[in-house]
């Protein structure tokens, strides 16, 4: 169902089309005894800002996957050029459950030029389903300072973004910190780059669940991160986040800025009882593409031969833990590093309704 208007987007028509959608679906099922009934479900409003996407693109599959876990009223915002038509299309996103029930939710795709985009929040607001959370998934660069972006964020209970999309220049992380701080009171943030680190953090923290390893936590004074990156690549956000996480959780304070020397970035910190050195080494792998964290090693110089390490396997599909105490290797584990696809990752994030205080504290580490 499509609503086209030269004068902008007709909210009333969208509402009519939403009602008609369910009437038509019910009518289509009537008398079809062998097909499952249609169930409408909705647990949230999901606003997706997706420049460069088209209706029916791969994003449709991602949204279908998300809907299967979190049935939503989806607002898909597709920016267009000034000379392109503005239109809003209402459709159903359905999946069949194991119990042969067809569960459907609604999608409102809005293709809009710059003029309409500047007022998009006023189109979405009356269409939001009452009493349900609003999630904004921003699949693009973060337009710090943009008023409409600010309006959308203020309406959202949760914002999903990806800090790897931040501009490479210094200070952009600081802007992200500022943004999160400014809206913290009413909006929680999900950073997909941070989410991707969950298996790393799970395995690193797992070392210190072992009673035998616990005393070493206080002795740690050296952290080595290894990143596989194309030559000349900027320091990847993953490494920064791990560094910030370790520092903030273990109470280490920054004593210097991050200093880059060729392919190595160094940072000096003050632990509770001793200095701590952090080093991030970029290892050019000659492969085009995203930089990837490949190893995190925790060492204590006063406990020679002891190391706690999580490393990514050569094929990239596993994370391998190893603990060595006084030169003697202890039990390790192998975890599948499933590199979740976008749909599953966002689906997992949508299970979280509260603020991720550990993330927010980690960002604080980079406050300038």
């Amino acid at each position: 169902m499509s609503t086209e208007t030269a004068a902008g987007i007709d909210v009333g028509k969208i509402e009519h089309d939403l009602r008609q959608l369910w009437i038509d679906m019910a009518a289509a099922k009537e008398g079809a005894s062998d097909s499952p009934g249609v169930l409408r479900a909705c647990v949230q409003n999901l606003i997706v800002y997706a420049p460069g996407e088209e209706l029916g693109s791969a994003l449709a599959g991602v949204l279908a996957e998300i809907s299967a876990q979190h049935p939503s009223r989806i607002f898909l915002i597709l920016p267009r050029g000034e000379d392109q038509e503005t239109q809003a299309t209402v459709s159903a996103v359905c999946h069949v459950t194991a119990g042969r029930k067809q569960v459907c939710c609604e999608q409102i795709a809005i293709e809009a030029g710059p003029g309409e985009l500047a007022r998009i929040s006023s189109v979405i607001e009356p269409l939001l389903v009452s009493d349900l959370p609003v999630v904004l998934w921003w699949r693009s660069d973060i337009p710090f300072g943009d008023r409409e972006f600010g309006r959308l964020i203020r309406r959202a209970d949760r914002v999903i973004l990806d800090s790897s999309k931040l501009p490479a220049e210094e200070g952009s992380f600081g802007q992200l910190v500022g943004l999160v701080e400014a809206v913290q009171r009413w909006t929680a943030f999900t950073d997909l780059s941070w989410s991707a680190l969950t298996p790393w953090r799970q395995l690193l923290s797992g070392f210190f669940d072992v009673p035998m390893f616990r005393p070493r936590m206080e002795l740690l004074d050296e952290v080595k991160l290894e990143v596989s990156a194309p030559a000349g690549a900027p320091m990847p956000v993953e490494a920064k986040l791990v560094a910030g996480w370790l520092a903030t959780r273990l109470g280490w304070k920054r004593q210097s800025d991050m200093v880059r020397d060729g392919n190595v970035v160094r940072l000096e910190l003050a632990g509770r009882t001793h200095p701590v050195r952090m080093q991030i080494e970029l290892k050019p792998d000659g492969v085009e593409g995203k930089a990837r964290l490949t190893a995190v090693r925790l060492l204590a110089s006063t406990d020679p031969g002891s190391e706690f390490a999580v490393t990514r396997s050569a094929g990239g599909k596993h994370l391998v833990t190893s603990a060595t105490l006084g030169g003697s290797k202890q039990c390790g584990t192998v975890a599948q590093f499933d590199g979740l696809d976008e749909g599953r990752m966002v689906g997992r994030e949508l299970e979280i309704l509260e603020h991720d205080l550990v993330y927010e504290t980690t960002l604080q580490f980079f406050r300038t």
């Binding site: 669940d209 273990l250 975890a335």
Partner: protein, 513 residues
């Protein structure tokens, strides 16, 4: 022994679920059905979620001889059969399987326990389990006492290097009050109550845990949750299958011991309990124990009048003819074992005085369903009339919590049919887990095993509850043993004997799930 909790600062935050400390899970009866179908598959699933620490070890034991390699092969087949994704990633399986070991033990051969102790010590050193042990008795109940005695005789009930030791026992916890007390006594001679985890896998089900969330996270229900608004509560646990190849065991048990005395009384307690002051195990289990203590004792008379037992005869299920219970394998052709049981309970306290709780469970009923239905009282004055002028008959409201399958909650209420006149029909407001949350719920055993390793006994039955539950139902079992309640027959594929309808009395009926 209370284990001091260590706060790992790296584990803080909402994304990192609490993982278990390394331990050795000693599974007695490791060659048996439960270990293959539930325990090892659950442990592997936990390992895949990175919830078991490095060094997690399984030491399986049973009477039969087996090498470590053979045990790993058997467990691999079990995982392939009983885990939805099978083994999945090979490297991950190899990592898990490298922690699986086996040693044979026999309570009649003390040397075997000496060998068990030596193996545990060696594995502790090699695997870094820190002396932590989770002992799982996945054996017939007759073996519990000999095993526990052997553990004590060989000092295996204590950890040498300050770790924790916990023991999980499966139901049935005894066959009656005396045997339940004896079992508890024997366990408590060796372990303290906080080391004993009596598993009731119903408590690990997502929707059973949701009962507490529904009641205590929502303000709107609690003011109605009492005798002023609730007319009755009915709890149904129905199966469409018969005894299949468990006839030999079922002949010694019956529906009442198998379901009502344990699982269903736990559900009753969750529905009837007062809000606990905290969600810690002690607080929750205290409130549940209070419910059982407040339950009205049965006299010989009320046990006869307030209970029904039945046995399925031949019939049809899903269009297929099925035999009667007495024609099943390993069942006595003149068996008096009930395959259907129903009873009426009362809780004598301010909240529930005179509100009947009806519990029923049976095999070869039309479908598999477990649900709790809260029947509210009728409106005090009927405003609406039929076209004949007679008062409109409006079904009272009913809140149904469906435990399985299609977990969810529904509320039945009256609504006006669109039209000129006021015609009232019942409608249902539904919440279903499967449609609202597309994520698969964890298996009950995954949750329960992890909780035991974390030292959280909230979802386990406490000794006093078990004994009080037995004490409560003994008059019914005595009346049945004395044949004071006839064993009624019912056709397979029906909802049980007609006598169960009479149990409800005037004005009430069993809900058709």
């Amino acid at each position: 022994m209370e284990v001091e909790a260590f706060e790992n600062p790296l584990r803080a935050g909402i994304r990192l679920q609490r993982a278990a400390e390394p331990c050795i899970a000693v599974i007695f009866g490791a060659s048996g059905d439960l270990a293959k179908r539930k325990l090892v598959p659950a442990l592997y699933s936990l390992a895949r979620q990175n919830l078991l620490g490095p060094g997690f070890t399984v030491l399986g034991t049973a009477r039969s001889a087996m090498s470590d390699e053979e045990f790993r092969k058997v467990m691999r087949s079990a995982v392939e059969e009983f885990v939805e994704e099978g083994v999945g990633d090979e490297r991950q399986w190899e990592s898990f399987a490298s922690g699986l070991f086996y040693t044979a033990t026999d309570t009649a051969a003390p040397d075997s326990y000496e060998a068990l102790g030596d193996r545990l010590k060696k594995l502790d050193g090699e695997r870094g389990a820190g002396g932590n042990r989770l002992i799982y008795l996945s054996t017939p109940p007759s073996q519990y006492s000999p095993i526990v005695k052997c553990l004590r005789a060989h000092n295996l009930h204590r950890s040498e290097n300050g770790g924790w030791i916990r023991i999980i026992v499966e139901k049935p916890f005894g066959r009656d009050l005396d045997s339940a007390r004896a079992l508890n006594r024997e366990l408590l001679e060796v372990f303290s109550e906080d080391q004993i985890y009596r598993i009731d896998h119903y408590l690990g089900k997502e929707t059973v845990q949701n009962i507490m969330v529904l009641r205590f996270a929502n303000m709107i229900l609690e003011p109605l949750w009492n005798r002023n608004y609730i007319d009755h509560v009915q709890i149904t646990a129905a199966e469409s299958i018969g005894v299949e190849n468990r006839g030999g065991y079922y002949e010694t048990s019956g529906a009442f011991r198998d379901m009502i005395q344990n699982h269903m009384l736990q559900l009753l307690a969750l529905v009837a309990m007062e809000p606990p002051w905290s969600m810690d195990a002690g607080a929750v289990r205290d409130e549940k124990a209070k419910v059982i203590r407040a339950a009205r004792d049965f006299t010989a008379e009320t046990a006869r009048q307030g209970s029904v037992r039945g046995q399925y005869g031949p019939g049809s299920i899903g269009g297929r003819p099925v035999p009667g219970y007495r024609q099943e394998k390993d069942v006595n052709p003149e068996s008096q074992t009930e395959t259907f049981a129903a009873a009426r309970f009362y809780i004598d306290n301010w909240r529930w005085a005179d509100v009947p709780f009806y519990l029923r469970s049976g095999k070869r009923l039309p479908k598999r369903v477990t649900e709790i239905a809260i029947g509210f009282r009728e409106a005090p004055h009927q405003l609406f009339r039929l076209s004949t002028g007679a008062p409109s008959t409006v079904d009272p409201n009913m809140l149904v919590m469906r435990i399985q399958p299609e977990e969810g909650i529904s509320l039945k209420f009256a609504a006006k049919l669109p039209g000129q006149s006021i015609q009232i029909r019942p409608v249902s407001m539904d919440f279903q887990y499967g449609t609202s949350f597309g994520k698969k719920s964890p298996e009950a055993y995954e949750r329960l095993l992890l909780d035991a390793m974390l030292g959280d006994s909230t979802l386990y039955a406490r000794g006093d509850f078990v004994e009080e539950a037995w004490a409560l139902v003994m008059p019914i079992l005595h009346a049945w043993e004395a044949n004071e309640v006839p064993l009624a027959s019912y056709e397979s594929g029906t909802w049980g004997p007609h006598e169960a309808d009479a149990l409800m009395g005037e004005g009430r009926r069993w809900r058709r799930p």
